[in-house]
């Protein structure tokens, strides 16, 4: 009973400078629709302090809002790439290809003769020809730049 009452509470929030009202229990899909955020953009909730801002996925996962929460949308987002124990940030856009990020990571890490290197997420190699969005790359993801095969003979 109390959860029904909680779901009806309206809170004032701010998205890209607009003041809006929303139920305090909502979803990513509803927030994107409320502010008219295009599918090509990513929504983030501002987090105070040094912590990373929280990426909001356009899904039906429940999200709890606090009064005066601030959100912003942008087309670019940050991912991390790990190579030989060193982690570096890269700013990317969802429509970029995996190959473009791979080439940039190879350049930044200074790998020479890197034909066996690929990007991996969760143990799965990301296909070069896909966009980052198609490959399921999300804000703050940790990607591994590593060889697809290591062998000797």
């Amino acid at each position: 009973m109390s959860s029904h009452q909680d779901a009806d509470l309206l809170v004032r929030i701010h998205i890209d400078g607009q003041s809006l009202e929303s139920q305090d229990s909502t979803t990513g899909v509803a927030l994107y629709a409320l502010a008219g955020i295009a599918h090509s953009r990513y929504l983030f909730r501002e987090i105070a302090g040094d912590a990373e801002d929280e990426p909001i996925e356009p899904t039906d996962q429940p999200i709890h809002l606090q009064p005066d929460d601030h959100f912003y949308s942008q087309t670019a987002f940050k991912v991390w790439v790990l190579y030989n124990g060193v982690k570096k940030p890269f700013e990317v856009r969802p429509e970029e290809t995996v190959k473009r990020l791979l080439d940039e990571a190879i350049r930044i890490f200074g790998a020479a003769n890197p034909h066996t290197l690929s990007l991996f997420k969760g143990g799965t190699e990301l296909p070069d020809g896909q966009t980052l969005k198609e490959a399921g790359v999300k804000p703050h993801d940790l990607l591994l730049l590593r060889p697809g095969a290591v062998k000797g003979g």
Binding site: N84, V86, A112, G123, R146, A149, V150, G152
Partner: protein, 148 residues
């Protein structure tokens, strides 16, 4: 780019022990020498990767490699030298050239002859280094590795 690495004799002995216990004079085997990014010139750890092997080669397990890559990130360590055995003479094969674990200039690859069954040391071993253009070039062992 080149570094003179310090290696405790105990790590070299551990490396040969892995080669002898795993390869048993019948299979090639690989070990990796690591150091902290805060002190890269001092090799502090030998890692024996999960791999499959036969008389003339080895392949690292892909799941192991993924977990190990994450572990390097959490421990702030980097791979400086890959070390592997050959059945006979030590040299760098085409496969060794094409499929290293690290691709940055200055990375070293050491090949130990006779499956590592000989004396613990660098006798008749072969050391090569990635150059800025991506090619491998043989370098004198004493110019890159010092036993302490």
């Amino acid at each position: 780019v080149s570094t003179l690495y310090r290696l405790e004799r105990g790590l070299l002995e551990d490396t040969f022990r892995h080669f002898r216990e795993c390869g048993r004079g019948r299979h090639e085997c690989q070990a990796l020498w690591l150091s902290a990014w805060s002190q890269p010139g001092i090799l502090t750890k030998v890692v024996h990767p999960r791999h499959s092997a036969h008389l003339g080669g080895f392949v690292l397990d892909d799941d192991w490699l993924n977990e190990f890559w994450l572990e390097l990130g959490t421990t702030n360590m980097g791979i400086r030298v890959q070390v592997h055995t050959h059945p006979g003479e030590a040299f760098h094969s085409h496969t060794d050239d094409e499929f290293p674990i690290v691709h940055t200039p200055g990375f070293l690859s050491l090949v130990i002859p006779n499956f590592g069954l000989g004396p613990v040391g660098f006798q008749e071993a072969f050391l090569t280094e990635i150059q800025p253009d991506g090619r491998w070039k043989e370098v004198p062992i004493a110019s890159r590795l010092v036993l302490t």
